[in-house]
Each structure stands twice: as C-alpha cells, then as structure tokens.
C-alpha cells in the first residue's frame, strides 16, 4: 500500500509539472502575447515596448523557468489588469467555485446513487426506463442553455430564486442544479451497471440463500461493492465540474474562479489564465489521486496491479 501511494504521488507531481509546461507553451506559442496585450490599434513600436516590459522577448525556456521558480513559492506574479497579485485574486474567488462544485457534486451523488440502485433492482421496468431517460436527457442538455432555462423559469417567471449574484445560499441553488445535472448521468449509469453485476454474483446468492432480508442484501452487501467505482468517478466529475464551472459562473454571474478565468482570457491577462488553468488541473490531479488511494484501500485487488 505504501509503495502504491508513493508511486501515485510521484506520477501526480510529474503530471502537474507537465501541465504547467504544456499550458505555458500553448499560451506563449499559439499567438503573439505582446500583440494581444497591446491591442489591435497599437503601433509596432508599442508592441515591441510591451514585449520588453513584460519580459516576453527572452527565450521561452528562461521565461518558463523563472515563472516556475516563483510558482513553486506560490507566487504567480501580478495581474496585468487588476492592481493585485494573482494569488490574492485566486484566494478571493476560490470559495465561490468550491462551494458551487461541492454543492453540485452533493446534489449529483444524492440523485445518481439512489436512482441507479432503484433502476438496477427494478431492471427493465418503467422505473428503469425513466432513470435512463433522465440520464439521456442530462447528457444531451447544453449546460449553459439549461442554466438560462432555469433562470427564465425559476427566477423570472416563478420568482422563487435569484437569477444572479452570490450573496446567500439561494444564489447557489440554480447554478448547482445546472452544474450537478451534467455530472449525474454517468454516475447513475455506473451505479446501475455496478449493482446489476454485483446482484448476479455468487456471494449475493449466498447472502440471499442464508435468508438475509432483501434490504440487508442490497444495502450491506451489494451497494458497498457496487459503489467503489462510483467514488472514483465522483472525484473525477468534481474535477471536471471545477473546470466546467466557467460556463455556469458566466450564466449566473457568479464571481468565482471560472469567471475570473473568462475575464482574464478576454482581457489578455495571461498570468491569471496560466495560474487558473494550473490550479484547476491541480484540483483534478489531487482528486483523482485521492480516488485512486481510496479505491485501493477499499478494493485490495487494485493495489497488486
């Protein structure tokens, strides 16, 4: 178990490093940063001046190594647009995105797992078909459009919940639904197939043959085993939702990390873009790492692979 964890942590660290290199290179090579910052009306001299002022004239490897050296000390430089450091901006906006992601995940898990279990137990009945329909609709719904539709229905027509802002819990209800629905179908399907597989296994037959109650068989014996891969998927989905929250935050005008990234992208505020991409990737890496370790702890077969 110890070597497994150490090996996974080493891989996670090198993935994080690779991502920092790739995103740095992508940002610096896919366009002329100095020209983007200067804007379309700038003269060639102004662009050159910006190139020198921002240190963009030096070799890209030097720029990256300098950036990395600072980043390792949690210094991501200063924003080109705001009068503050990138770290301050991120710390300021992070709670909103984490709240949104956490609520969305909780919502998705609370719907997906019971629905998946019921669909598996009542296989091929109307309950199962309804669950499948729910999943199929969720997978095809563009999240930005679902969010706008929720606003039109619940904020404008019914006036139950606010449409924008982040002052109280009410502001997080609609965004969490919009983001959470996106993560629900995959988890529901995985719970369902996992349950179906487990329910057909020998030890469940044994448990039934022993005369255990249906409730005990399903919840104590079957669900525990079926839910292991769902835990891993939930962690991955949370990572995806944090990355995808840029869309929902923009729809609901939530001032989180996603909105910060979008503003930074449209203002060519590259230190912020680079930092947010890395932070979101780090979240994903840590979450998958935790999921792997939790999986290995729950299922000893994984460790030996």
């Amino acid at each position: 178990m110890g070597t497994f964890i150490v090996r996974r942590i080493l891989v996670a660290l090198s993935v994080a490093l690779t991502i920092s290199i790739v995103s740095f290179m992508l940002l610096h090579l896919s366009g002329d940063l100095a020209a983007s910052i200067a804007g379309p009306e700038a003269t060639a001299e102004q662009v050159e001046q910006i190139r020198i002022d921002y240190g963009l004239d030096r070799p890209i490897v030097n720029q990256y190594l300098e950036w990395l050296g600072h980043a390792l000390q949690f210094d991501f430089g200063r924003s080109y647009y705001y009068q503050s450091t990138v770290v301050d901006l991120i710390v300021d906006r992070m709670p909103i995105t984490l709240t949104l992601g956490g609520l969305a995940l909780a919502l998705a898990v609370c719907i997906a797992i019971p629905l998946g279990v019921v669909a598996a137990i009542r296989r091929d009945t109307w309950v199962d078909r309804l669950a499948l329909l729910f999943a199929v609709i969720g997978q095809a719904m563009p999240s930005f459009w679902f969010g706008l539709t929720l606003i039109v229905i619940f904020a404008v027509t019914l006036q139950w919940l606010p449409a924008a802002g982040s002052d109280g819990w009410q502001h997080f209800v609609l965004p969490a639904i919009a983001l959470g629905y996106y993560a629900t179908p995959a988890m529901m399907r995985l719970t369902r197939t996992g349950m179906l597989e487990v329910l057909e296994s020998d030890y469940i037959r044994t448990a039934r043959a022993k005369g255990l109650s249906a409730r005990s068989v399903i919840f104590k014996h079957a669900l525990r085993n079926a839910v292991i891969p769902v835990v891993a998927l939930a962690a991955v989905e949370l990572g995806f939702m944090l990355g995808g929250s840029v869309v929902i935050e923009s729809v609901f005008s939530l001032n989180g990390l996603g909105q910060l990234a979008w503003d930074a992208i449209s203002r060519n505020d590259y230190p912020v873009v680079q930092a947010v991409v890395l932070i979101i990737a780090l979240f994903y890496i840590v979450l998958t790492l935790l999921a792997d370790v939790a999986n290995a702890a729950l299922d000893p077969r994984i460790r030996t692979r």
């Binding site: 940063l33 997978q139 999240s143 930005f144 459009w145 840029v246 979008w262 992208i265 873009v273 994903y284």
Partner: protein, 313 residues
Amino acid sequence: MTISTSTTHEASAAEGARPATLGEIPLPAPAWSRLTRKVFGHRGLTIGLCLVLVAVAVALLAPVLAPHDPYYQDIANRMVPPVWHESGSWSHVLGTDKLGRDYLSRLLYGTRISLVIGLVAALISGVIGTTLGVLAGYFGGRVDAVISYIVTTRLAMPVVLVALALASLTGGSLFTVIVLLGLLLWDRFAVVSRSVTQQLRDSEYIHAARTLGCSLPYILLREVLPNITGALIVVITLEMAHAILLEATLSFLGMGVQPPLPSWGLMVAEGKAYMFFQPWVIAIPGIALFLLVLAINLLGDGLRDLNAPGGRS
C-alpha cells in the same frame, strides 16, 4: 461481438493465413436481416438514427429548405415572434432575431456548422487518439507507459478553459475551433483503442500474421484496425456529440464561431439579452442543439448495445 465483426475476425484470420488465394468472405445473407432486425428492434437506436439522418438531410438541403437568406437583415421586422405566438406570421415561421434575420433559416444553416464541427473534430481526434491507443495496446511495456502518461496529462487539463484561452489567442473562427477541438478531444479514442488492442494482441490471427512475417504497418492497419472499428464507431459518435456541445459552449461564451455565422451556441448568446420577454429566442436554438446531441448519443448508445456480447445491456 456482433455478427458483422465476428465475420471480420474470421475473414482476417483467413486472409492472414493465405492472403493470396482467399478473397473476401461475403457476409452470410441471414446475418444482414438479423442485423437490421436488431437495429430496428432497438428503440433508442432507431430514434437516434432517424434524427441524425434528418439533421444530415437538413444540413445538405439547407439552401432549398430555408425560406430566407440567413444573413439578410430585415431591419423593419426585428424580433418577430414565432407563428404560434398571437402576433406571429407565416412569413417568419420561427420569427426573426434582433437584426431581423429569419430564425428558421439561421437554425437550418446552423445544422451545417454543428455537423461539420462534430464530424471533422471527431475525425481529427480519432486519428490522434487511435494511433496513440493502438501503439500503446499493441506494444505494451515502455511505449504503453509513455502514452498512458500523455493520456493522464491530457485528462487533467481543463478542456473548456484551455479551449477558451487558445480560441481567444488564435482569434476564434470555424476553422480554429474545429482544429482546437480535434486536438483536445482524443483521450477517449486512446483509452478505448488501447484496451481493445490489448485484448487482440495475443489472438491467433495476429500471431499467424506475425509468424508469416507480415510487416508491422500491415498488422496494425489490416489486422488490428478493422477489428477495433466496432468500438471506435461508438467513440466517434460520443465525441461528435461532445465536440458539438463544446463548440456551442465556446460560441456562447464569445470565443468560438464568430458572428454573423448562424452557430446555435452563438444564437443563444445573441438572444440572451431578450430571453426575459421573448424566451423563444433561446429556446429554439437550445432545443435544436439538445435534439442533435441527443440523437447522436442515442445512436452511439445503441451501437454500443449492438456491439456488447449480450446484445442489449
């Protein structure tokens, strides 16, 4: 395996053994009728297939079907409501947008953008992902370790953010969005083709081909590739749907396809300011997007069921 792919198995095994004398073994006649029965017996697959065919027909026939020029701005007739609305009229069945452009015509032409983006992006990512996956699965060992590492790294990158940033830097256009999505969405192709190739690697007909001294490209292209296409077609549909949704998202956020092109995501973005009083301006392109993605997903799910050993899952 389905009837068709298992026949491919036998055919390639025979070809591998005696490539000169044995031609293609024709598919047995009853297999086709069994296949069609399977296709049409699966409700989701039938619905998905029909809707996709409708979308393709609409995309091809858009100039014939569209009642107006999708770019013509009739300034006198702005924000005309759809025909079912009390002040709607048959001259603009789905109404007009804020510039007086016919909504139905824009919607019909928008099918072209979504389908082209989905298809080309899925093809680009398919080539990248399948190449990586087949190499990793076939060689294993160090090659597999390196490619798996690349896939892990790609999965940890937040796609929406990276796509937004790169689209903004390269100055979003139809072409750059297609290329960007193609370069970003290959992970599932790699994962699936790797695991399927791993299962094939030690099969008898691959051994036979190797023993006969067939070249490596021949084995990979003629023996491995035909036998993983079943799994790949499912991934293609899912990634098409994924690419279409992502393009709409990028365009909605203003970093994708640029105006005046009738991208559905862009239509939602342009209608956003009017959605409180004229909700149809976002409902119509949104529903079109939803139906197209739904259809492609249903098609993919259905094909996966046909591919699964037990038929339906």
